[in-house]
């Protein structure tokens, strides 16, 4: 048996507009804290702390203009042109020892979300290890995994999924502090 009871449609959104509801005020940006912190009352607005991790365009010459490495399904193996792209960035980072990058690991939408966070991290670590092996320094590299949460393209087919299984190499504007 298939019954369909539509409880509300357009009227609800119209009614929403008619309501004098308050949108919560954004909380002041707060520096990320490694331990614990409290924040104001009511609904919160989470704003990224600006400053230390500002993103830049990074180098543009040749292969360096490519800042994305793609992967096969459920794999973290760097292959094909990805190998050359990673080698070019390793060479650049080795030559520019105060430059910093953040490696952002991503997956396609298939499978559970937290498992995909693990898989995205595995991909970011795979690129990180390749950069380190080819001369970049550990302090130049940070990683984050967004799993399937930030797809590069919408869509729910293999073409879209292939573009979403990736690591993005994000150049940061703040240079590495010189060693003491």
């Amino acid at each position: 048996m298939r019954r369909v009871i539509v409880v509300l449609l357009v009227a609800a959104s119209l009614a929403l507009g008619a309501c004098a509801h308050k949108r919560p005020k954004p909380a002041p940006p707060e520096a990320p804290d490694a331990s614990a912190g409290a924040q104001g009352s009511g609904a919160n607005t989470a704003n990224a702390a600006a400053g230390a991790d500002e993103e830049g365009a990074g180098p543009q010459a040749g292969l360096l203009a490519t800042k994305v490495v793609y992967f096969d399904f459920d794999s973290s193996e760097i292959k094909g042109t990805g190998t050359d792209v990673v080698a070019a960035h390793a060479k650049y980072l080795t030559a520019h020892s105060s430059t910093r990058v953040r490696l952002e690991g991503h997956t396609d939408e298939r499978g559970s979300r937290e498992y995909n966070i693990g898989l995205g991290e595995r991909r970011a670590q795979s690129v990180r290890r390749a950069l380190l092996l080819q001369g970049a320094a550990d302090a130049q590299i940070s990683t984050v995994s967004y799993g399937e949460e930030r797809p590069a393209v919408p869509g729910h087919d293999e073409a879209a999924w292939a573009k979403n299984r990736r690591v993005e190499i994000v150049y940061l504007t703040q240079p590495l502090a010189p060693k003491q």
Binding site: M1, L8, A12, S112, E114, I117, G118, T143, P154, H156
Partner: protein, 436 residues
């Protein structure tokens, strides 16, 4: 089944609910996608109303909507009701039996001297004429909707022998826009999708909401610092604490005693393992130590063990491990190449999970004693199952065309509902506990 009048009534209810609270997001729309073969015929007569509480909320309409949405009841349309009694002694049982109803519900909404509102109801069996239940719920005028859900809970329990879960809440994530211009909201709503309350909004992903056992707190993952952090937040006030360490911080799940979180930490080496965080002391206990992805921990109801996802055997499967250091994991799932994101039924007997079924990701339930697996959903990308606190229903996320929606399915697989946002998508539902 539901005439224009019923729809208009439901609309009025939802409009009232939206205006009465700080609404975050346009309300979810509900479709019943399947129903049982022999629903219980019941008549829910409009309640007598002595106070204009909550903008004149139609309590009987809310109760009818709850019971029909469960798929276990069929309500008599108002225009076919033979009379409009409001007290048990006014019910002429044969008249209602003749109209095809096995049960009649009547009730009254009245103001108390304290300023509170009382909702009284009676449940009568039309075959025997016996009064099965008479109960009163008292609350603030703004809580009339909750009182209506409590009436539904009581009727469900009296007739079916299982506590209803209508007066409960769900948390979920709503997402608008496409990257990089995405907008994430963490929302709490009544179990029927009404009465929405914005908990948090962000330009960066919000994930994995989990309720504390007392229903006061939510734990979740936020990327607001461009790095993952596990946050615990008091729903009522917004007060919150963050626990963020190097690498992955994910998959928080509250322990049954409310004192600890099981969670996933990756560390700077980037290898996700399961840990237990003591919330008072912030002490961390490592539970797994394996080069595989170990994640998505969830507590057994007795608090002695955890179930989690791991690809240590090559593909994602579910394991169980004691909730203390040095415990050895035991593999739980064996069917198929992908089983992940476990959740345990309140009685500890069933494991809900996402399984790869003929190329589609679907919600399945495994009986932990026998190992029998039943696939309950029929989509292509179904995920994030969460048990109702009475164990009768699962809520999960599905992809309906281009958009993510929420869906429910009864544990026998027979009854389903879909909750869809008018725009954008909704995902990662977490069903809260019974309220006290």
């Amino acid at each position: 089944m539901s005439g224009p009048r019923a729809i208009a009534g439901a609309l009025a209810v939802v409009v009232v609910a939206l205006c009465a609270t700080r609404s975050a997001h346009a309300a979810l729309q509900i479709e019943i996608t399947s129903g049982v073969r022999d629903p219980v015929p019941i008549a829910i007569v409009p309640f007598a109303r002595a106070v204009p509480a909550d903008g004149g909320l139609d309590v009987a309409e809310v109760v009818q909507h709850d019971l029909e949405g469960s798929g276990r009841f069929r309500a008599l349309p108002r225009e076919r009701m033979p009379a409009t009694p409001t007290r048990a002694d006014e019910i002429a049982a044969p008249l209602w039996k003749g109209a095809g109803s096995d049960y009649v519900v009547v009730g009254r909404v009245s103001a108390m001297e304290s300023g509170q509102v009382a909702v009284d109801f009676d449940l009568v069996n039309t075959l025997t004429g016996a009064r099965l239940a008479t109960q009163r719920f008292v609350g603030a005028p703004g809580a009339l909707r909750n009182a209506a859900h409590r009436v539904s809970d009581a009727i469900y329990q009296k007739i079916l022998g299982v506590r209803g879960a209508f007066a409960t809440r769900i948390a979920y994530v709503a997402v608008d826009g496409s990257p990089p211009a995405q907008h994430f909201q963490l929302i709490v709503a009544d179990a029927d999708g009404a009465n929405q309350h914005l908990v948090l909004e962000s330009r960066f992903p919000l994930m994995s909401p989990s309720w504390s056992p007392d229903g006061q707190w939510l734990a979740y993952v936020s990327f607001e610092t461009k790095h993952s952090g596990v946050y615990v937040q008091l729903v009522r006030s917004g007060e919150r604490q963050v626990s963020a360490r190097a690498g992955v911080n994910g998959a928080p799940e509250w322990s049954p005693d409310g004192r600890k979180l099981a969670l996933t930490l990756g560390g700077s080496s980037g290898n996700p393992d399961i840990y237990i965080l003591d919330l008072a002391s912030q002490d961390l206990t490592r539970i797994t130590d394996d080069p595989a992805i170990d994640t998505e921990p969830v507590w057994a109801p007795d608090g002695h063990s955890l179930y989690f996802t791991s690809d240590r055997a090559g593909s994602a499967q579910i394991y169980q491990i004691g909730a203390q250091p040095g415990a050895r994991p035991k593999r739980i799932t064996f069917g198929g190449s992908y089983n992940a994101r476990p959740r345990v039924s309140p009685d500890g007997s069933q494991l809900a999970m996402v399984t790869l079924d003929n190329g589609a990701y679907r919600v399945a339930v495994q009986d932990l004693a026998s190992g029998t697996v039943r696939v309950l959903s029929h989509g292509r990308l179904d995920e994030s199952p969460s048990f109702a606190p009475n164990g009768a229903t699962l809520i999960y996320a599905e992809r309906d065309g281009e958009r993510g929606a929420l869906a429910t399915v009864s544990i026998d697989g027979l009854t389903g509902l879909r909750l869809k946002a008018p725009q954008g998508e909704v995902r990662e539902p977490a069903w809260g506990p019974f309220s006290p």
